[in-house]
């Protein structure tokens, strides 16, 4: 079982799919979509088989690990391996890709760019997403981190909405600036590792074990953190996200916000905290402040939006604030909550974006004022949208609630007042989600809406149903995911030398003062 190179296979499979799709005739639109769907389903199946072989008891270790020398001159290995967090994020990515392809079956018709190109780009992106979560060599991680930009850039710039050029360029410039700062820090880390161990390395485990001088750590931390903060995005690095999400096709938006942005928070948790523990503790007040500002600001701006997709994008800005908050409060509950939130947010945002996409393509407008009374003509559409929305506002029983609650509890343990302020974000979430629902779904139904906004088709229901099932299932029973995540969180907590504050009511054991 362990001898089979699961992760490289998983990485190569979508690439093969992309090549196959590109070899199809240009006019074979449906065939390209079918082949793309088959490959993405295959990747999903392989992931499930792999995940069944994952040993949750040792989820803190990198499993299915493989390391092949790639560029010995730089000390770079093609090294992959997954811990619990990486595994669930890969699972998130590979389950969203087939959903996106199926839900967005008619999003691309060849009028803007070729259909096979779109499918191939999605598959290339899938490979890069798997690679970025699976890499245990930081150089390799950086290569995937940067090369993800190219497919996304083309997906937005070629297949997006009216202001796609602007959005694609803004996305690319923001991401590149972050990526290049990370490159500088990466090189610095490499040089530091060469000074400490004698040979430069990019191996994550080795680097995490180094004792880097705290002053140097701060600089290196800054390089990595800014890159991740742009990717995630945290306020004030967030302005590219609404544009990019609003201008891209719903499918691209799902992958962008649902998965790609997770690379930012995943990077904070895995790389910032474990590689630069001193600097991370040093930066905690700043990051927590930014995160809380993000939670409140994102939510307030979301309330003011008139464009559905921009609204959803801003809700994500708010939610990423929660995730970053949970990562940096340095409690195991907060971090578990954040890791779980990454998964839950992926599914609920996917559902929101896709259903919003159905609405928008039917009505031909992204503005909420052009809708109204949809629930009378399309009750199933309205119902699914409501469930997705309620999950986004963290209604108990739906998945986001568990993670948001964990983050807030984890925050409260150490920073009670921060938790109080952050909780306001939930109230505001109820405002923006319910306002959106009210404006779109309730009220009088105009003739245009009656005529154009039809009920969900069978294909669309098939695409959305799994998302809603996951949202409900993880809302009631998040244990399987938490079981896989928690050992890895324990490792992170240990690396960053953080201990959970002892409960105040319980007697404190001697000598374990926090």
């Amino acid at each position: 079982m362990t001898t089979f190179p699961w992760l490289p296979a998983l990485f190569v499979l979508p690439l093969v799919g992309a090549v196959v799709v590109m070899l199809l005739p240009k006019s074979a639109h449906t065939l390209a979509k079918q082949v793309g769907l088959v490959f993405s389903a295959l990747v999903f199946a392989v992931t499930i088989v792999m995940a069944l072989g994952f040993n949750s008891a040792k989820a803190a270790d990198f499993q299915f690990d493989i390391s092949v020398p790639w560029i010995p001159a730089f000390g770079v290995n093609f090294a992959m391996g997954v811990d619990g967090i990486a595994l669930v994020l890969i699972a998130l990515a590979v389950s969203l890709v087939p959903v996106v392809l199926l839900a967005g079956w008619d999003d691309v018709d060849g009028s803007q760019g070729s259909v096979r190109g779109y499918i191939a780009l999605i598959l290339v992106l899938e490979a890069a997403m798997i690679g970025v979560f699976a890499a245990t060599d930081i150089f390799l991680f950086y290569v995937f981190f940067e090369s993800m930009l190219i497919p996304v850039y083309f997906l937005i710039g070629r297949y997006g909405g009216p202001r796609r050029n602007y959005a694609a360029m803004k996305f690319l410039v923001y991401s590149l600036v972050g990526g290049l700062l990370m490159l500088a820090a990466l090189i610095g880390l490499y040089v530091v590792s060469a000074q400490i161990t004698g040979t430069g390395t990019f191996d994550f485990t080795t680097l995490a074990g180094l004792n880097i001088d705290p002053a140097t750590q701060k600089w290196l931390f800054a390089g990595f953190f800014i890159a991740f903060a742009i990717k995630a995005p945290l306020v004030p690095f967030h302005t590219w996200l609404p544009d990019a999400a609003a201008e891209s096709t719903p499918g691209t938006a799902v992958l962008l916000v649902g998965v790609l942005d997770k690379v930012g928070t995943f990077g904070m948790l895995r790389y910032c905290l474990e590689l630069f523990p001193d600097a991370s503790r040093w930066a905690t007040p700043l990051v927590i402040t930014l995160a809380v500002i993000g939670i409140i600001y994102g939510a307030l701006v979301a309330i003011g939006q008139t464009d559905i997709k921009r609204l959803i994008a801003y809700t994500s800005v708010s939610h990423f604030g929660f995730i970053a908050l949970g990562v940096f409060v340095m409690t195991s509950r907060g971090q578990s909550g954040s890791a779980l939130y990454m998964v839950n947010h992926g599914f609920s945002t996917a559902a929101l974006f896709l259903i919003a996409g159905f609405l928008i393509s039917r009505r031909g407008s992204r503005l909420m004022e052009d809708f109204g009374g949809v629930q009378k003509v399309a009750p199933i559409l309205a119902g699914t949208f409501l469930i997705a929305g309620l999950s986004s506002l963290a209604l108990p029983g739906l998945s986001s609630f568990v993670s948001e609650f964990l983050v807030l509890v984890g925050t409260f343990e150490r920073y009670p007042w921060v938790a109080v302020v952050a909780t306001l974000g939930i109230v505001l979430a109820a405002v923006y989600i319910l306002l959106m629902f009210q404006r779109i779904m309730t009220g009088p139904t105009s003739d245009v809406v009656k005529e154009r906004v039809l009920e969900l088709k069978g294909r669309e229901i098939v695409a959305i149903a799994p998302l809603l099932v996951v949202i409900v299932a993880l809302g009631f029973y998040p244990k399987p995911v938490l079981d896989v995540i928690n050992p890895a969180i324990t490792r992170v907590m240990h690396s960053v030398s953080a201990t959970d504050p002892a409960p105040e009511v319980a007697p404190v054991a001697e000598g374990t003062a926090p």
């Binding site: 560029i71 001159a73 710039g157 070629r158 600036v177 500088a184």
Partner: protein, 515 residues
């Protein structure tokens, strides 16, 4: 000194300087061909001579690849860096020659004026064009220039270096003025290049004289020994270093000696632009590295701060001015100024790692540059090359393969992972950080970000913008020559990006400069 003393009689190991001799010898043959072979056959004969000479020189270079000696009475050092640089120059010159040999893309002939002496727009010119004559003198000029480039980074004394500088420059001045289209622009560029080039050569010569005044010798190792003996710099050394650096930095096109670059790159026939942008830079960087590492290593604390500033300025000025360009050739010119700045990080590092990194960067940059200019030469309208950026709109629709290849080169210049540019940038940046030049690397990173903006803007134009309805711009299908050149350069860009170990090993095995 000790190495030269062992030569009592001027015995010369001809095999050691075989590559140089073969190329310059072939250039002389080319001159004779011009004199004696009938017009009809000249082109074919010149092509055989040129490509034959480049291949033979490369074979000769392979045969001496293990050599680490000072030869030719102490005038030429055949060491690892020399072999790597000469190999790079020969490979790049070979690819550039393929582009120069192209004659299918222009319906009237190749890229060169049939008779450069005919006045632009004159009856004579039309007559020569009507006859379908081709300019074949470009070939011997090309070979002379390559010969000079091979000698330039191998010279161990400043006078040999000066001779090499002139041998490589003079033919280039002429080649720049040979464009078939837009001849006035081309001739203006040639004159500019010549006047400024001669000026900078004079700086170099003056620097040589001052160095001779200080050390009593022009040999690089002699200067180094004298510096060690006197333990430090005096005004002669400082002034001499500055003047030598001006001459070399001019050829490299580093700020503030870059003013000629955009005009000359724009005016020169595009195949020549590719050639000079790639090969001259390799040769000049080789020479700069040798002078700075071998002769002036002892006073590096004096020149490093200045080089710091020049590197930073080159990167920033290059990318910022490139942002505002509307002509693709001028944009690539400013981009090459920025690239020179990145390479200077390797020079500033003054370490073994910095040397290796610069060597790799030079080769990676050279291949992508020749490829990029080869692509530029294929995008044409009825008046010649369509170099205005607006004319490139929608190219991705008309010719997806070519546009993708050009995008690959641009992404390489921008330093996106999995392209050769990334490997090269990573190498110089890590050398820079290891040598304590972290602030410079930060500047480099920021410049890369700005640079990415305009490289990507061209990609946007090609892929996301609708072509103007009546632009008349088309992508010409070239002959096998250019196709081969573009294929090789694109393949190298990818290979150096994805599997760079072989070139890193080559550079690493090159070792250090011998004295």
């Amino acid at each position: 000194m000790s190495a030269t003393a062992s030569f009592d009689i001027p015995a010369i190991d001809y095999s050691a300087i075989g590559p140089i001799l073969i190329v310059t010898g072939a250039a002389l043959v080319g001159v004779l061909v011009e004199a004696f072979v009938p017009q009809l056959y000249r082109r074919s004969v010149q092509l055989v001579v040129t490509f034959g000479a480049l291949l033979a020189a490369f074979a000769a270079l392979i045969s001496i690849r293990g050599m680490r000696e000072i030869v030719a009475v102490g005038a030429v050092a055949i060491d690892g860096p020399t072999i790597f640089l000469q190999g790079s120059i020969l490979v790049l010159a070979f690819i550039a020659a393929l582009v120069i040999a192209e004659r299918e893309v222009d319906p009237v002939g190749d890229a060169f004026a049939p008779r450069a002496s005919a006045l632009p727009g004159s009856v004579d010119e039309q007559a020569f064009t009507g006859l379908g004559w081709l300019q074949t003198e470009v070939w011997p000029l090309f070979l002379f220039s390559v010969g000079g480039m091979l000698l330039f980074p191998a010279s161990t004394d400043l006078l040999t270096m000066f001779v090499a500088l002139e041998v490589l420059s003079l033919p280039l001045y002429i080649m720049v003025g040979l464009a078939r289209r837009r001849r006035l622009l081309s001739q203006e560029a040639a004159l500019k290049y010549f006047v400024l080039g001669a000026f900078s050569s004079a700086f170099f010569l003056y620097g040589t004289a001052l160095m001779y005044g200080f050390a009593g010798t022009v040999s690089l190792s002699g200067i180094a020994d004298k510096l060690t003996a006197t333990a430090g710099a005096n005004s002669l050394v400082i002034t001499g270093t500055a003047l030598l650096a001006v001459g070399l930095l001019f050829k490299i096109g580093a700020v503030p000696f870059h003013q000629w670059t955009p005009d000359v790159y724009q005016g020169a026939p595009t195949p020549v632009t590719g050639f000079m942008a790639a090969c001259t830079k390799v040769a000049a960087f080789g020479a700069l590295l040798r002078v700075m590492y071998v002769a002036l290593g002892g006073v590096r604390w004096d020149w490093r701060p200045i080089m710091y500033v020049i590197a930073a300025l080159s990167m920033l000025v290059g990318v910022v001015f490139a942002l505002t360009q509307t002509d693709i050739k001028r944009m690539l010119a400013y981009s090459s100024i920025a690239q020179a700045g990145f390479m200077l990080i390797g020079v500033v590092a003054t370490s073994r790692q910095g040397l290796d990194a610069t060597l790799v960067y030079l080769f990676a940059y050279g291949t992508a540059t020749i490829g990029a200019f080869a692509v530029v030469s294929l995008v044409r309208d009825s008046t010649g090359e369509a170099t205005h950026l607006s004319q490139w709109a929608g190219l991705g629709r008309k010719s997806p393969v070519l546009a993708s290849v050009f995008a690959l080169f641009l992404l390489g210049f921008a330093g996106i992972p999995l392209t050769s540019g990334f490997t090269a940038k990573f190498a110089v940046f890590s050398a820079g950080v290891a040598a304590g030049a972290t602030p410079l690397v930060i500047v480099g990173v920021l410049a890369s970000a700005i640079g990415a903006f305009f490289y990507v803007r061209v990609i946007v134009l090609m892929f996301f913008t609708e072509p103007a309805a009546d632009s008349g711009v088309s992508v010409v299908i070239p002959s096998a020559f250019t196709t081969l050149a573009i294929t090789i350069t694109a393949a190298l860009s990818l290979v150096i990006g994805v599997l760079p170990q072989f070139i890193l090993d080559l550079a690493n095995n090159a070792g250090i400069f011998i004295r």
